[in-house]
């Protein structure tokens, strides 16, 4: 059947996670199986089309007041009603950085926005630094 031919989506982004977000995941989902399943949902961001309100079957939305987005994962894995994966797309690098993992009901307060910004500052400063060659000597 011609219409059933499978067109592969091109990978648009490399998805990286900051260690703070990784620790967030451990704090909000203490169970390994839940974290592994959440990771598979966040993984879908590699196919995200900039500015789209969804990627495959997950919803995305911009966070008001900051140049960041969040993915809404509507599965609780026994630890809530769902989770939010806060991310920032860094266009020149083609990299999406996962900044924070939050519970669905957690509000994005001014303090949270400061936390996101602090995490982004660290990423912007260190993303191009290789620990094997921290001074970039060739």
């Amino acid at each position: 059947m011609e219409e059933n031919q499978e067109t592969e989506l091109p990978v648009r982004w490399s998805v990286r996670i900051s260690l703070s977000a990784f620790r967030d995941a451990h704090a909000v989902i203490p169970r390994l199986a839940g974290r592994a399943r959440l990771r598979r949902q966040a993984w879908k961001l590699q196919w995200w089309n900039s500015g789209d309100a969804e990627v495959l079957d997950v919803q995305c939305r911009p966070i008001p007041g900051v140049p960041m987005w969040e993915v809404l994962v509507e599965e609780g894995y026994g630890f809530g009603h769902g989770f939010r994966v806060v991310f920032v797309p860094l266009e020149p690098d083609g990299t999406i950085w996962v900044l924070c993992i939050m519970k669905m009901g957690e509000p994005v307060t001014e303090a949270m926005k400061m936390i996101f910004q602090a995490r982004l500052n660290a990423i912007v400063e260190r993303k191009d630094v290789s620990m094997e060659n921290p001074f970039g000597v060739t």
């Binding site: 067109t7 998805v15 990286r16 260690l19 169970r31 390994l32 969804e54 079957d57 307060t109 303090a111």
Partner: protein, 226 residues
């Protein structure tokens, strides 16, 4: 703003930070100060701001926790296996699975579930003569999303499974047979949370009302405090 007001404000901002420093054991304090000195001015300012948030009792426990985890990341440069900051999401699963057998088992299980789901979905679509486009339209998603599921590259959410089952007029367990097992395990995990309070309907559901209540009274357990 006068100079004294500015310095007073600076001192008030530094108090949570100083309180934290005083509480540290000498060795940790030394390492912390080294890490702080090696940071750029921007990161150092961010660290101080995170301390303020972490110490602010008017904020929620979640917010303070996020602030503390930010400090840990900012002061400890822990590169991934490629020597870069942060971790590649795909590689982190692969790497962690090679180090932790429990995760390796979980990853293998997820791969198997996704692959079996793709086979079942493909079979159902074929028998019901439904194209990817038609299915996408029925479940309000895009054709590439269906394609990725069939190519075992996308793990569907529970709500998507329900929509697909409805669209194909099948029971959701025909698509994902161990869905109930997963839900059962999730509910067990939920009950293991420290702050979880059982609701009245849940308590009633657990109560065995088929047997009369025993008249025997047990001895109280010795208190651990005694």
């Amino acid at each position: 703003m006068s100079t004294s007001e500015t310095s007073n404000e600076a001192i008030s901002h530094a108090i949570p930070f100083l309180r934290f420093l005083i509480s540290m054991p000498p060795r940790a304090l030394e390492e912390f100060c080294h890490a702080l000195m090696e940071c750029s001015g921007q990161i150092r300012a961010d660290v101080l701001q995170m301390f303020e948030i972490a110490e602010d009792e008017s904020l929620s426990v979640d917010e303070r926790g996020h602030a503390l985890r930010t400090i840990v990341d900012q002061l400890h440069l822990i590169p991934d296996d490629e020597g870069r900051f942060g971790m590649d999401l795909a590689r982190s699963e692969e790497l962690a699975a090679s180090n932790f057998p429990a995760l390796a088992y979980q990853v293998g299980r997820m791969n198997l579930q996704e692959s079996e789901f793709a086979d079942r979905l493909r079979h159902l679509m074929k028998t019901k003569h439904i194209t990817q486009k038609e299915l996408a339209a029925r479940i309000d998603c895009t054709q590439p999303a269906i394609s990725q599921m069939l190519n075992r590259k996308c793990r569907p959410q529970r709500k998507t499974l329900n929509k697909i089952a409805t669209a194909l007029a099948v029971d959701v367990r025909e698509l994902w047979p161990d869905l109930e097992v997963s839900e059962y395990l999730d509910s067990v995990a939920e009950f293991q949370q420290d702050d979880r309070i059982m609701t009245e309907p849940e308590a009633v559901a657990l109560r065995d009302t088929s047997q009369p209540r025993s008249k025997l009274k047990g001895q109280p357990l010795p208190s651990r405090k005694k």
